[in-house]
């Protein structure tokens, strides 16, 4: 085989098969890449700064918030004084949000593609995710 690479469009035309649309794949892939890159950057900054001032130190030397870092006031307070712990926590938050953002991205792309079945599927998945969050609180 001299030319093993076939574009998804060609394959679709040739066999009538429904490959995932390229725009959808690229958008989902990009959301995942960007989410991972931002998260990893924040985590690395956290680790590097922790090596200098310790995880619970602060770069500005200002007083740290009394709330734990996984609460919103604790996180914002920690970020305000450049606490390594808070910067890494933000990185973990971005990591957790990334898969949810990719479901939202697919929803938008399925709407653009006018793929009614998968608009409903994406909405269903989002609804169940929201239910799961509400049930536990």
């Amino acid at each position: 085989m001299s030319e093993p690479r076939v574009t998804s469009g060609e394959t679709e035309a040739r066999s009538g098969r429904q490959a995932d649309p390229e725009a959808l794949r690229l958008a989902v892939s990009r959301v995942l890449t960007i989410g991972v890159a931002i998260s990893a950057t924040l985590l690395i900054i956290g680790v590097v700064l922790a090596a200098f001032v310790g995880w619970t130190g602060s770069l500005t030397g200002a007083a740290l918030p009394s709330e734990p870092v996984y609460t919103l006031p604790g996180l914002l307070g920690g970020l305000a004084v450049l606490q390594p712990l808070a910067i890494a926590q933000l990185g973990l938050f971005v990591l957790v949000l990334t898969p949810i953002l990719r479901v939202l991205t697919s929803l938008i792309l399925f709407i653009e593609e006018r793929d009614r079945v998968y608009v409903l599927v994406s909405l269903g998945v989002l609804a169940i995710l929201l239910t799961s969050l509400l049930l536990v609180r």
Binding site: P4, A19, D20, V36, Y70, G124, L135
Partner: protein, 284 residues
């Protein structure tokens, strides 16, 4: 944690990421025992770190898998309906069901499934069959470019009803027992729906992130995600997953199965041990 310990956790997490990307699992089977046994980390904190590990494996590898058409987005999203609703039901039932026996039963089911895999060890691709009307209506018919075979491989999901129910069961189990259940997802796509092995593990990998993200909020809110432990885990798993995704493309489906089966057996034994009350760490 000393810097040496951090580096060891980082290294183990790289291995968990590579294995997770190849076998379609979250890596809890390595991360949890490593944290609890090597460093005596509290089991709740270890599970919190493993949730982070699942999301890191998934997002780290899926970016490449989705771009390279190994992950089938429609198959993944359609089956996520089953896994997420199963997980909600499982979380609700968790309060009234005794998990001990469930761990044991699930372990035996996985061990049996591993035995069944022996029959497929020599199979590179599932036999090609004409796509059903249901598969076409749901868009579960596609193809993937196989760099190793040097050609485009067409496939269609079979036994969609059975696959959907198996996925609901996988979701139920993860909600009930707090495990990622990536192995069950691969079994549902490979065994029930007869998707190519690489498509099965890459799509499982893609799916596990969403379910884990739903429960991650709860774990973080409870303070179970310890930043100092979760950070080296997340960074190691991300690096490993990106590496693993590059590796999978170059492997044959047979080789992927040869990696998956031992992983399945280890998870099965961990679950059985936990069901019998032996504390040797557990996976999924």
């Amino acid at each position: 944690m000393s810097p040496t310990q951090d580096l060891t956790i980082f290294a183990i997490s790289i291995a968990a990421g590579v294995l997770g990307a190849l076998a379609g699992i979250g890596g809890g089977m390595l991360v949890i025992p490593a944290l609890t046994f090597l460093y005596g980390v509290d089991i709740r904190v270890a599970i919190g770190a493993s949730i982070v590990s699942i999301i890191a494996t998934s997002s780290g590898a899926a970016a490449a898998y989705v771009r390279d058409r190994l992950t089938n987005l429609r198959v993944g999203m359609f089956l996520e309906l089953a896994t997420t609703s199963g997980a909600v039901l499982g979380a609700l039932l968790a309060a009234i069901v005794a998990p001990q026996l469930l761990f044991l039963l699930l372990g035996i089911v996985l061990l049996f499934s591993a035995g069944m895999q022996v029959y497929r060890l020599r199979e590179e691709l599932p036999p090609e069959t004409p796509p059903s009307a249901a598969a076409q209506a749901l868009g579960l018919v596609s193809s993937y470019p196989d760099a190793r075979l040097g050609r485009e491989v067409p496939y269609a999901a079979r036994r969609i009803g059975l696959g959907f129910v198996a996925m609901g069961f996988a979701g139920l189990i993860s909600g009930l027992l707090g495990i990622g259940s990536g192995a069950l997802k691969v079994l549902a796509m490979d065994g029930a729906m007869r998707l190519p092995m690489k498509v099965s593990t890459a799509t499982s990998n893609f799916m596990i992130g969403v379910t884990a993200a739903a429960s991650a909020g709860i774990y973080i809110g409870r303070g179970d995600v310890d930043v100092q432990i979760a950070t080296p885990v997340a960074l190691g798993v991300l690096a490993g997953a990106i590496l693993g995704a590059r590796l999978l493309v170059r492997l044959r489906n047979q080789q992927v199965r040869l990696i998956f089966v031992p992983v399945l057996i280890v998870i099965a034994l961990q679950l059985i041990a936990r069901g019998l009350g032996l504390d040797i760490g557990f996976g999924g």
